[in-house]
């Protein structure tokens, strides 16, 4: 009121008019809950208008969303910040995920097996944003193929089981056990989780049976085809091959060539079959001593004999005997009377 009196300077009509305006404004403030405006010469915060909307294109494939943003031509060199958000519903009233603000214009967002709606808004200063620009229609990311997954993702599976076979009379026994030895449980690891699976002994398994051992949740199964171990809840354990002397392993027949009492060469009469390691060669004779030789195996058969010491005093017909030939097997090869009728040759 002091300001009104000062301004009117004794002019009662002017003072009455100004007082009326003042009271009317006070009434308006009370009704609207507002306050008087600041002086027009007070410095206000700088306002930067948002840029024109950028163009948004989202495509889904192989479990990923590929986001591509095209900025307006008039943007010049000024960086434009983009804020992308998605929602499973078209009106974005629920399930909204807002991704970090960035000036980037291309993203690949992994999110397999979902269908989402997408929208975008732009800003020069991350304070004043343009209105949202939504891409028409929903986009499906699709399913991710195993080849598209990175290493160490949760799909990775490993186990700490040993699978082997031992001869047991007319059949073999396939054993599954852990690092503690036969009869100890083992651990299956799938991504970040693991579980302990009991040890097992499968008896009465026929020789010459190649199979894939799988844990079905209750027991082990021995399947001839790898694909038969693929049901979702099953745990592939290992691959086992059970062989025996009489059915799977044929030892080579080697003959020595003697000149002047020394063995100067070897003849491979029969290369053998089913060998998984070089057989041991022992050379016996009624008079000669000292000769040594080493067999070279390829594709299950002997392809070469490397002579060692030639020896001396040999007769014209020394005997060369091959034994072993099974990786990890006992000397003499695996067999029904041996202690290792088969071998594990691969983990799944």
């Amino acid at each position: 009121m002091a300001q009104i009196n000062s301004a009117a300077r004794g002019n009662s009509d002017l003072r009455e008019t100004l007082t009326g305006i003042h009271l009317a404004l006070q009434s308006l403030y009370a009704q609207t809950g507002t306050t008087p405006l600041s002086k027009v010469d007070t410095t206000t915060a700088a306002f930067t208008a948002p840029p024109a909307p950028s163009k948004l294109a989202v495509n889904g494939a192989n479990g990923n969303f590929s986001v591509s943003i095209t900025t307006p031509q008039s943007a010049g060199n000024a960086p434009i910040y983009q804020e992308i958000s998605s929602s499973p519903v078209a009106n974005f009233v629920s399930g909204v995920v807002t991704y970090p603000v960035s000036t980037g214009t291309n993203y690949v967002l992994p999110n397999p097996g979902v269908t989402l709606y997408w929208r975008l808004r732009s800003s020069y200063n991350q304070q004043n944003w343009s209105s949202y620009l939504a891409q028409p229609g929903a986009v499906s990311s699709g399913l991710m193929s195993s080849a598209a997954t990175g290493s160490n993702l949760s799909l990775n599976q490993s186990n700490y089981a040993t699978v082997d076979s031992v001869a047991d009379g007319s059949s073999a026994t396939v054993r599954v056990y852990g690092s503690g030895g036969v009869g100890t449980a083992w651990t299956s690891v799938l991504g970040g989780s693991s579980r302990v699976i009991p040890s097992g002994t499968m008896m009465n398994v026929a020789y010459a049976a190649n199979g894939f051992v799988v844990w079905d949740g209750q027991k082990y199964q021995l399947k001839p085809q790898l694909a038969q171990t693929f049901p979702d809840a099953w745990v592939p354990v290992g691959k086992v091959s059970v062989i025996a002397n009489g059915s799977g392993l044929v030892l080579p027949v080697i003959r020595a060539v003697v000149t002047g009492g020394a063995i100067v060469a070897y003849q491979i009469v029969s290369p053998g079959n089913g060998l998984t390691s070089a057989p041991l060669l022992s050379i016996t004779d009624s008079s000669g001593t000292g000769a040594t030789a080493t067999a070279v195996v390829s594709a299950g058969a002997v392809t070469q004999i490397d002579p060692g010491n030639a020896g001396s005093g040999y007769s014209s017909s020394p005997t060369v005997t091959a034994s072993g030939g099974v990786s990890g097997g006992a000397a003499g090869g695996g067999g029904a009377t041996g202690n290792n009728g088969g071998r594990l040759y691969a983990d799944v």
């Binding site: 097992g200 499968m202 026929a206 027991k219 199964q221």
Partner: protein, 86 residues
């Protein structure tokens, strides 16, 4: 010590499944193959020819004895050195 917990014939896989358990809940499975996959495509299982010669009781006793022997060896070690067993 391990002892027989349960046994059953699983027709789908062709195994006589025998489960042994010890007092701590550790499990060991003995599986006698009484059938073999006759058809990899349909999974049909056919009985083996040697079923008459199979002796499940002897198999259980043999495996059980092996498991308990190794178990007893550990208990003997604990007893020798005065260790408590958990």
């Amino acid at each position: 010590m391990y002892s027989l917990h349960e046994q059953y014939l699983d027709v789908a896989s062709g195994f006589h499944v025998i489960e042994l358990r010890d007092e701590r809940g550790n499990r060991h499975l003995i599986q006698l193959a009484v059938g073999h996959d006759g058809c990899p495509a349909c999974g049909a299982v056919h009985p083996k020819d040697s079923l008459g010669a199979l002796d499940p009781g002897a198999a259980i006793a043999r495996v059980n004895e092996a498991l308990n022997t190794s178990h007893q060896q550990m208990l003997d070690y604990a007893d020798k050195h005065g260790l408590i067993v958990r």
